[in-house]
Every structure is written in structure tokens, then in C-alpha cells.
Subunit: 403 residues, 2 copies
Amino acid sequence: MRRSPRDTTLVRPLSLEKAQGLLDRFTSALPSELVTIANASGRVLADDLRLEAAMPPADRAAVDGLALSARETVGASAYNPLPFRLGLGGALRAPAGQGKLVAAGDPMPAGTDAVVRLEEMPDAAAALEVIEPVAKGENVEAAGSHAPAGAIVLRRGWRVRPHELGLLASVGRKSVAVMPRPRIRIVLAGRGSPRDENGPMLQACIERDGGAVRGPPARVEGRAAIAAAICAAAADLVLVAGGSGTGLGDETAAAMREAGEVVLHGIAIAPGGTAGLARTRLGLPVLMLPGAPAACLCAYELFAGRAVRRLGGRDPGLPFPTLRTTTARKIVSSIGRTEMVPVRRRDDGAVEPTGSFAGAALFALAEADGFVIVPQSSEGCPAGAACTVYLYPERPKEHRPEA
Amino acid sequence: MRRSPRDTTLVRPLSLEKAQGLLDRFTSALPSELVTIANASGRVLADDLRLEAAMPPADRAAVDGLALSARETVGASAYNPLPFRLGLGGALRAPAGQGKLVAAGDPMPAGTDAVVRLEEMPDAAAALEVIEPVAKGENVEAAGSHAPAGAIVLRRGWRVRPHELGLLASVGRKSVAVMPRPRIRIVLAGRGSPRDENGPMLQACIERDGGAVRGPPARVEGRAAIAAAICAAAADLVLVAGGSGTGLGDETAAAMREAGEVVLHGIAIAPGGTAGLARTRLGLPVLMLPGAPAACLCAYELFAGRAVRRLGGRDPGLPFPTLRTTTARKIVSSIGRTEMVPVRRRDDGAVEPTGSFAGAALFALAEADGFVIVPQSSEGCPAGAACTVYLYPERPKEHRPEA
């Protein structure tokens, strides 16, 4: 067939590294935002959490009980029970021979330095008997024992773990500065009925990466409608899935040439090589992704997701834990393109490919525990070679839930 | 002090294993529910996904282009261009020498078995010239090549990964049966102002474990109010934080003795030993958790979280990836109690404790990468011993987000 490509930018696609470099120039972290502690789980801290005061700020009771002076319990025994009266008042020093009832967490009353658990409390009791000596500091959380003033407890860039909400609350924080959720608009472009496989998939990927998807995906056909949907987006970033290629119905790049500027079109990745970056006249970045789901996924993971994470102030790298291991079988890849290859972990810890996107589309990932990235300069990995695996969350191996 | 405990069940706490065994008798998986694909990310599949038809169900175009019969391209070359006319109609067999325009994903027209990418298309073209032979199957996704009919692609009990939304959609699913989100009510009980550290922390833990927290936590004081808040809960499970002990203001167990039945009170775990299980007269399970945040967290992780996961049909075990490694330093623990000990991973892969909950409360976890569980029968782990670490999600090591 005669060849005179409609879009010459795809003839020599950019390397993934160069494409990422360009992407980085158009995406930087949005301003941080304050959220209440109750809404902070999983968010990325925008500031270090530095303690203003030591924790606890003063000696406090670790248990419910009777606060008293340990010194005054010397000599107590079953044969020599020492009576303690319950002192009254709050800030007053407990007089000799008196104790004060405290609840766990209460500051220690002046003149007391230990707490005895109250396990018997006659209704009308005015005196209690101590029958063994108590050590100074017993059942007391000493000032500064948890952490000193000025300590950096949590760091900028860390995702807040569930229990850290308790930590933040326990140091008196009501709210915390976190990295923003970039607002992302998804546009599905294509002829007739655009593929809708990509909408839910992209939404879930974006949310995993800290973005907030605005509205249901727009479904549009034709150059003018694509451009209009993009330019109308109230968002920090637009992802267009479909129509990224150079075929007859592929109008996304053409739409962006009219509505703004195509920054790059064609990246040396497989699948997903028709991905690109554009921006509107107002400077809104637009990521063009292929419509075939496996290609769309790869272009998201290797390229578009980076923009979401950068806008949200996250680590721009892939959001998966990595494992250094070896290949159990040869991994085939084509030279000249960075490839995402699904792999399975074997019992011996080595990994083997589960299938290729070219051969099995998204089914290649069904049995995969993660994937390896074979760089552009490589034809694959021979068996036994060292490799880095990007791991999906573990699946239960044995568990079969009850009916 | 004279000892005649008010609540004798705490004198001999149950082992964690026995407590979990009792808990399991009161919690089993709720019925599954149908959700749309767009809402299925992260949900746990209630059924295997078995393909009714092969995928793709029929040969289809892998790219936009001209579908034709490969046989008819034999002999094509730049010196011998073979003209193809564009055939009309949909289901008709393409006559010899004709091709049909197809978009990626279209079924292959009868009589065609290959697709040539259309990279030149004069506006008024009625004929195209093929200048090299095409192999049968080129740019065609063959029926069944992705997966055969009957294949089990995803399994019951697996959490749906983002890209699996694309997979589900691509096999024509609009909705999918998933394990339910158990409805959980949080009650904060205590004297005066109940500690509010626990509300956000428990909510985040519950959501991590697949539960849905109903409303903001109820904050109640006193036996009658605690019982009323529990019995009014429209939920599958109630978690009461605070008041679980045997001190003066500890009314949770007493409230449950009046409003139902205390099944167990006191578990041999540290911290968190005052945790317990009760149920209302209507059979609603109630988990009693300590109010001190570190104790509350441990009682949740070691005990209560199991109930949330069981109700939701998830693996009842801890929801963390595990790592088998060795201890770099001795881990101290008290015999007779199962202990959760925060640890840090060192560069050599071994782990060392970061602090104890007894000494540093939740601050012990701030620098931790996870925790080990020292069983009741052990006094700890000597340096160099094998251990299993439950790992929190990885933190960025180097990354410092831009301002």
C-alpha cells in the first residue's frame, strides 16, 4: 500500500525517557491543601510533622487509679496496710498520706509520682489501703517519654497510614496539610460507540495515583467534539482515550492541533506507541492515549500516570513496590521500544512471563503478579538474568471465602 | 491495695487464638452484592469470572485499515501493484479483489483474513494499491487468541485491580458480584470527653479492611448511654473504643451485660488486653476495644479487624504482605501475651524494633516499616532469629516533593 503518513511525528517516536522529560516540563505539583484528620488517610503529607511540645507534654496517668507519692508507700505490706485518703481539689498538691483519683491520660496531680490501679472501690470509701510499696513512675507516662519536642515524627511525601490518624490526633492536630488531588477529566474519543473499557480502568488508575476524576467520562466523536470536550474541562489534566493513532478515525491529535498544540505524538513503548502530549491554548495539559485497552493501560502506566502523580506532588515513579529477582524463562521484547511485560512469581521466587499484550491483550495480566519493564535498548532478558518486578498487591493464595 | 476484681474475666485472659475462635463463631460472610464495573475497583470478587465465549469471540481487526484476503496479495510488489476496490455492505462476503474498511475491534468481514493499515486515503479513492504480499492473520486478533471459552480469568476472593475493570468491560460485563462492605458503627465511650484519637484511626482501618463506617462516631458516657448507642446501631458490627477496662469509669462491659451478653472479656495480647466480644439481645456483635490509642490499634489489628474482614468475605488474616527475614537485634516481649512489635527494615534486610507501644505509644510505629507478632508462648526473638514481618505500604525513601 502506498505510504505517505498523515502524521509524520509517529515515524520516529520519542524514547520514553525523552517523552517523560517533556511531560515533566508541563506538570508540576499543585499547591497543598488542608484536610481534617478524618479525611487524611492515604493522603500524602505536604509538610513534615514536627512536634511543638514533648509527648506527653507533662507526666500523666497511664491507667485509671489512685495517684500518690511512691515515697509514702515505703514499708507497706499485708501486715502493715497504709491508708490513703482521697484528696479533693484539682491543682492543689496532694497532702502527705493523700491520693487523688485519676483517669488514664489525666495529668499527674502535683505531689504524686505513681498510680495504683483501683480494683476495689467501696461505694462510700474515703480511705484506701496500700499493701505493697509502689515504685516512683509506676503507671505514669513521663513527660517526653513518647517523643521529645522538635522531633520529626512523619515526613513530607509520606502517605498517611491509618494509625497515623491516631498519632496526629494525639498530638492535638485537627487538620493536616496534604498534597492535592489533581482534578482529572477523562474523554473517550472514537468513531461510533467509543470503547468504554477504558473509562472505569483509567478512573481506578487515576484514583490509585491520588487524582480525583471529574464527572463521568465524556464520550465524543469527531474532531470538533473532541476539541470542545477537552477545552470545556474544569480540570488540571485531561486524559483522552481513543483516536490517538493515525488511522482514518483517529482525530485526537488533529483536534489538538486546532485547539492548541501537540507537544509530542508517538512514544517508543509497546503497546501504546501512539500516545502523546498536547496542551490547550490556555495551557491545560492533555494526554492522548490509545483506545485499545492494553495499549491504553500501558500508556497510562508508563506515561500518563506520571503526570497525575507529579501534579499531586507524589513520587513520579511507578506506584508499585519493586522486587529484585531473576527471570526463570527468557522474556522476549522488541528492540527500539520500552515494553511492559506481565510476569508471574514462581515458588522459587524467579519470575516468568504470563503472556504478551500483543497476543492476549489485558488477559496477559490476569494471572500476573506484576510486570517488568524491558528498556528500549534491549531485546528482552535471557533466562536467569536479574530483573526488577513492579508488584501488584498480593492476592490471597489459598483463601476461598465462605458462601 | 486490696484486690477483689470487679470483673473476674480479666484475671485469666483468653489466648488470642481462642478469642479468634470465638469471634469466628459470631461473624460470617454477608451475602455478596452486584456493583457496576465503575464501582468495582478494589472490591473482592464473590464469584470466579469464567468466560462464556472465547475472547475475542470471532476474528477481529487489530488496527484500523483495509480488510482483505491475504491470498489475493500474492505477487504484489512495487513493480506489480495490485488494486483493491472498497467493497460495500456489511455481512456480505467480500468479492475477489475487494477489501473492506474496518476499525480496530471490528469483526473481520467474511472472505477476509488480514488487515493492511490505511496510511494513505485519497479523498475520493475507490481503489487502493497493495505493493507487498500480506500474511494471513496479519493485524487480525484471531477468535480465542486472548482466552478460550470456559477459562477462569479472575477468581473469587481476589481484589479487583484497576486494569481488571477494563478486562471485565471487554468481556461485556456491566456489573460484577463482589463481597459486601459490612456496615460498621463506631462508638467512642469514656468519661468526660472520650478520646477522639480512635475515631479517624478506626475508620481508616475499617475502610482498609473493606468495611463501610456508618456515620460519625457516637460519643457517649455512662452505662445507659453506651448501651443505647450500641443497640440503636443500624450496622453489621459495632466497635466500641474506650471503657473496656475494669477501672472506675469503664462501663462498656457492664453496659453489654445489661444490654445483651459478654462473650469474652480480656485477651492475652499486649497492648490491648482489655479487649472483648459481646453481642446485643438481637445478636449484633460488639467488639470492645481499649481507649488508649496504641492499645486500641493493637486490639483492632489482632482481633477486631478479623471480624470486619470475615463479614466482608475477605481473608480473615492480617491484610499486609509478609516478609520472612531475620532479627538484627533482640526483640523483647513478655511471655503469656501475644505482642505486636513495630520494626524497621535495615539496609541488609534484617529488622530491628523501633520502640515499644508501652514506652512510646503510637510513636513506636512512626519510623516502622511494619511489625512482627511475638506469640504468647515466647519471650521474644533473639538476634538473628527468623521472623515474619507484616509490612506497611512502602514509603518513598528519597523523594522530597517539590514545593
